[in-house]
């Protein structure tokens, strides 16, 4: 009986295509998050309004006149994305935890790293949506053209690195006693390389610097993305284990 069971199991494993299965699971998690968000819109609207408020605060804090604008635009944008990002990451994991959704996901007989990638992609989608709306608003408010392909690439790469680490850390922070305040404290010191390289590259594009000068921070962003996605992929099991 036992033999038969294991035989059947090995057969199913043989027959199923692991790669396509993995992608299916990732897509299912992403789809679930996007649909839930489409119905409630609480995460997206909170992130967006928060972003606009941060830009407003920077406006008064830095007195964004024409001269200062040129040097601080990249910094203001990335600070805004970083703060709004923690808000989204925290909420996106807290929903899973509060409604027992995470336990359900973990009970599913699927590879847990697929859940991680699903969450990363949906978190990335929320963050990019917010960024896509913040960019034109910022452009209009301060008459800077932010729609440059290079800058958009930097924003994409930076957001990937930020979300890759943030998703892993938010999965840890929601399981602690100090859940609401812990995520930024854990996340900010380890994403400094992302923010640093992203600000430097964005500044380069905004100032119209030569590509050779901008290539270094972009390479750094790519390297960071790859390293931390790989590490998070390897350790995610340890974070959700019960």
């Amino acid at each position: 009986m036992v033999n038969k069971a294991t035989e059947m199991k090995s057969m199913t494993v043989e027959h199923a295509k692991p790669a396509s299965n993995f992608i299916k699971v990732v897509a299912a998690v992403v789809w679930k998050d996007l649909r839930a968000e489409l119905r409630s819109r609480e995460l997206f609207s909170a992130m967006l309004v928060f972003s606009l408020l941060i830009i407003l605060i920077f406006n008064f804090a830095l007195e964004l006149d024409i001269k200062t604008r040129q040097s601080v635009t990249a910094g203001v944008l990335w600070a805004t994305f970083a703060f709004a990002g923690t808000l989204g990451l925290n909420r996106s994991m807290a929903i899973e935890k509060d409604r027992g959704c995470l336990d359900g996901l973990l009970l599913a007989p699927v590879d847990r790293s697929a859940i991680y990638f699903g969450k990363v992609i949906s978190n990335l989608a929320f963050m990019l949506m917010v960024e896509i709306i913040v960019l034109p608003i910022y452009s209009v408010l301060y008459t800077v053209n932010l729609f440059q392909p290079g800058l958009l690439l930097v924003i994409l790469l930076g957001s990937i690195g930020y979300v890759a680490v943030g998703t892993l850390l938010s999965a840890m922070s929601v399981q602690t006693r100090t859940r609401d305040i812990l995520l930024p404290i854990l996340l900010f010191p380890v994403v400094i390389p992302v923010l640093l390289a992203a600000v430097k590259a964005s500044n380069g594009f905004l100032a119209g610097a030569e590509l050779a000068d901008i290539l270094l921070p972009i390479n750094l962003l790519i390297a960071y993305d790859i390293i931390f996605i790989a590490v998070a992929f390897m350790v995610f099991d340890n974070v959700v284990e019960e």
Partner: protein
């Protein structure tokens, strides 16, 4: 509680003696640096504590990998011990560096790659302890701690290289020269003696404190178990 082993007792005494000798070598034996004067003597302890702190952080990252593979709580105790001792040593490094920088760079602090990385590294490991404090289950605490120590241990060197894209003014005394550095100097043989002895002395002190912290970790675990028994 287990009685203190004889080796640890002798290590305690040895730590005090080497600290005394290192202090003597740094303050009296080593010649006064020509340009900077006596404030340069801070250098011996600055490097001594920096080296041991770095050693502890690297050990912490290694232990976290070993813990994640073996899942043996023993490695978690070692990791906490190494990181906690290093955190204090690194704070001493930063404070000593600041004392040196005031007369030499004419400022307590500057956003140089090494200084910035040092500050961020301190924050990473403070966050590490805040994370651990928020978790009651020892097994989960160990897992999360190991994951975070691993991420932090990877991120800190990347931060350093990232900031190095900018120019640095921190002197590179050992290996390599930096034309933009301010406060660089060459060491005389006497200075080298004091320097290497300080490295040795702080390594001994580190091992001593590390050992004590591991024993403390064992006790903490025992207390937690006793508390659980009382609650049941």
């Amino acid at each position: 509680m287990q009685p203190k082993p004889l080796t640890l007792k002798s290590l305690d005494i040895a730590s005090i003696i080497v600290l005394g000798i290192a202090t003597y070598l740094a303050l009296v034996y080593a010649p006064t640096e020509l340009v900077m004067g006596n404030v340069q003597r801070v250098f011996y302890f600055h490097i001594g504590t920096a080296w041991t702190a770095l050693l502890g952080f690297i050990l912490g990252a290694v232990f976290s990998v070993v813990y994640l593979i073996t899942k043996d709580l023993k490695w978690d105790r070692l990791q906490v011990a190494a990181i906690e001792v290093s955190l204090v040593f690194f704070l001493i490094t930063i404070v000593l560096g600041s004392i040196w920088a005031r007369p030499v760079w004419n400022t307590w602090w500057t956003w140089d790659p090494r200084l910035t990385t040092a500050a961020i590294t301190e924050l990473i490991y403070i966050a590490y302890f805040m994370l651990r404090q928020g978790i009651d289950d020892p097994e989960k605490r160990a897992r999360f701690g190991a994951v975070y120590a691993l991420i932090g241990g990877l991120s800190a060197p990347i931060t350093f290289f990232a900031i190095r894209l900018f120019r640095t003014i921190h002197p590179v005394v050992i290996g390599g020269t930096n034309a933009a550095a301010q406060g660089s100097f060459n060491m005389t043989p006497h200075m080298l003696t004091a320097f290497f002895f300080a490295l040795f002395a702080f390594t001994v002190i580190f091992i001593d404190l590390f050992w004590h912290r591991i024993r403390l970790g064992v006790l903490q675990e025992k207390v937690e178990q006793l508390k659980l028994q009382v609650n049941m």
